[in-house]
């Protein structure tokens, strides 16, 4: 019995947090309410209309040259080759190009913004006790620009790439720049914040030593922060590159040439067979680049 009492005493003494319980309760109620609301707002699952739609969808999924005929691998392969060479592969190349340009632009912008956003770097006297009292105006200027940079990064992170691309396409037309900018800006927000946090979490010894030797902010950033943080920065970069590939596919649905453009075009012509083949191309492209970026990440980690 005494073990039981001890266990009960231990249980009573466990750390409890009212905040955590309230959050858990709120999360569970939100989930239940949302599921019920969606269920109530939808017709019954697989209603007659949906069954009819589904039947048509799967009938159309059969490659068009095979309609009403027995399956013939040769015909199917010729059809797939034609779709791939006329649309699939050029669109996959365009998707890849948009993603690469956007990810590199995002990394460059992120690096630029990370400097004022890093709290350890962007102060009147980084890493060293101030020799004299810095003026109030100087401290305010650093504080204000730093906060502004962090707020700007948060704003960029919050912008949905699709909404941004919608605006850019409406303004300048469906050109690749619209997709590149729409992907680069939100990702610059993500990378800028991660870069700034990496810079803040570096051990202070080396920058302090350089600072004591008279180095300025930029010298420290280039000579210490960048090389020390580079592996971490590259890891983040590759994660975002994966996101950019998925994003570049989808932004095509707004009329910019990429895989998404071909999805919309196939859908508009009610060519379900081509739509599914092109979605499969997008999936394979994503999986290949995931594998490539995983390999690059592990190479960087080992280096």
């Amino acid at each position: 019995m005494s073990t039981d009492t001890a266990i009960r005493a231990l249980r009573r003494a466990r750390p409890r947090s009212r905040f955590l319980r309230a959050t858990l309760l709120a999360a569970l109620s939100l989930a239940a309410w949302s599921l019920l609301r969606v269920a109530a707002g939808s017709e019954e699952f697989l209603s007659a209309r949906q069954r009819a739609n589904l039947g048509r969808f799967f009938a159309d999924a059969r490659p068009a040259p095979l309609a009403g005929r027995d399956f013939d691998a040769g015909v199917a392969a010729r059809w797939a080759g034609e779709v791939l060479s006329s649309r699939g592969l050029p669109a996959a190349a365009a998707t890849l190009g948009i993603a690469a340009a956007a990810a590199v632009l995002a990394a460059l912008l992120g690096l630029l913004f990370a400097l004022p956003a890093a709290r350890t770097l962007w102060t009147p006297s980084p890493w060293l006790a101030p020799t004299g009292p810095p003026g109030r105006a100087v401290r305010f200027a650093f504080g204000a620009t730093g906060s502004l940079a962090r707020a700007l990064l948060a704003l960029l992170r919050g912008l949905p790439d699709y909404a941004l691309a919608f605006l850019l396409v409406a303004a300048v037309g469906p050109v690749p720049w619209a997709a590149v900018l729409a992907l680069a800006l939100p990702n610059a927000g993500v990378l800028g914040r991660l870069f700034a946090e990496t810079a803040e979490n570096l051990p202070p010894a080396a920058p302090a030593a350089l600072r004591a030797g008279g180095a300025g902010r930029m010298a420290i950033a280039v000579a210490v922060l960048l090389p020390a943080a580079l592996p971490r920065l590259l890891l983040y970069f590759f994660y975002r590159f994966d996101t950019c590939v998925r994003g570049a596919t989808v932004l095509g649905m707004l009329g910019i040439f990429s895989l998404g453009y071909c999805f919309e075009e196939a859908r508009a012509r009610h060519r379900t067979d081509e739509l599914l083949l092109l979605v499969a191309v997008a999936a394979v492209l994503t999986l290949l680049l995931d594998a490539l970026s995983a390999a690059a990440r592990s190479a960087v980690r080992r280096s």
Binding site: S17, F19, L20, T23, L30, A31, W33, S34, L35, R37, V38, A39, G41, Q50, N53, L54, F57, A93, A94, G97, I98, A100, A103, V104, A107, A154, R157, G158, L159, Y162, A163, F166, L167, L168, A170, A171, V172, V175, P176, W177, A178, V180, P203, L230, P231, R232, R246, T249, G260, R267, L275, A282, A283, T286, L287, D290, A296, V300, R302, S303
Partner: protein, 284 residues
């Protein structure tokens, strides 16, 4: 910086090569897309972008439509849009967790760690590969592409839209949960097993608590991403913030656009803040 927190000498070699290759790749891609040579589209459109950016400092809380329709408060629309965005995202996350967490457990090494018969091991390994393959497959298709496919297959349906949101996120959750399990310290779980505990309690008591804080942070992050995706779903006609955004964009009511964007941003910051507060209280 190495994982041990020591500064290392910056090595030439892999990192330099990777960095240069990335820059070259980015430049080549930009040149290939014609970004440097008149790829800028209609230059007249820059005025619209300027007008859009100028409205960032004065979002509008009243409708900007011309006289007979405009002038009314935007608040009812805004609140409904925010509510529906949250509903779609929360329902999507709930479904994604229901599917993704068991899938992650199946895909981790937790179930195939110890002995049993050879046939049993083969079955477990097969299940693990199947779970991982399924998670990768659903992850490799973007949620909006799933939405397009579901729209084409089923017609418009809120439940189908939520399922489209849930599928790739279930894949994400499965992948990360499996990785967290595989990377968690095993000692406590193994000790419990050695002392005779069955596999399930040994896992729940010996392994799960160590990865729980990281899992919760990750789920909050996924909820942020889902909120953004759920908002964008509105561009396809669902009643979330994107629906309002698209309408205001098309009419060039840029003050309204910023109101909706700031509402989404506030929602994201709220989730991020709650996630950080929860993470602090859950410990390291």
């Amino acid at each position: 910086m190495g994982r041990d927190g020591q500064l290392r000498r910056p090595l030439p070699g892999v990192r330099t090569v990777v960095c240069l290759a990335l820059l070259a790749g980015g430049l080549a891609a930009a040149a290939g897309l014609g970004l440097f040579s008149g790829g800028g589209g209609r230059p007249g459109g820059l005025g619209a972008i300027g007008d859009f950016l100028a409205h960032a400092v004065h979002p509008s809380l009243v409708s900007e439509a011309p006289a007979p329709f405009g002038g009314g408060s935007l608040l009812p629309d805004l609140l409904a849009g925010v509510r529906e965005t949250v509903v779609f995202a929360a329902a999507g996350l709930a479904l994604a967790m229901l599917l993704g967490l068991p899938l992650g457990l199946l895909g981790s090494s937790a179930l195939s760690a110890d002995g049993g018969s050879r046939a049993g091991r083969t079955v477990r390994t097969g299940l693990r590969l199947l779970a991982r393959g399924f998670a990768s497959a659903v992850r490799s298709v973007h949620e909006l592409v799933w939405a397009v496919l579901f729209l084409a297959a089923l017609g418009r349906s809120d439940a189908a839209a939520v399922a489209a949101l849930a599928l790739p996120y279930a894949g994400n959750i499965a992948k990360v949960f499996a990785e967290l399990i595989d990377e968690a310290p095993r000692a406590a779980g193994l000790a419990l097993r050695a002392a005779g505990a069955p596999a399930a309690p040994a896992f729940a008591i010996g392994v799960l608590p160590r990865l729980f804080p990281d899992l919760v942070s990750f789920l909050f992050y996924e909820f942020e991403c889902l909120l953004r995706s759920s908002a964008v779903l509105g561009f396809f006609g669902f009643p979330t913030l994107g629906y309002l955004l698209a309408g205001s964009f098309e009419n060039l009511y840029h003050g309204e656009v910023w109101t909706y964007l700031f509402a989404l941003l506030a929602l994201l910051l709220l989730v991020e803040g709650t996630g950080a507060a929860v993470r602090r209280r859950l410990g390291p």
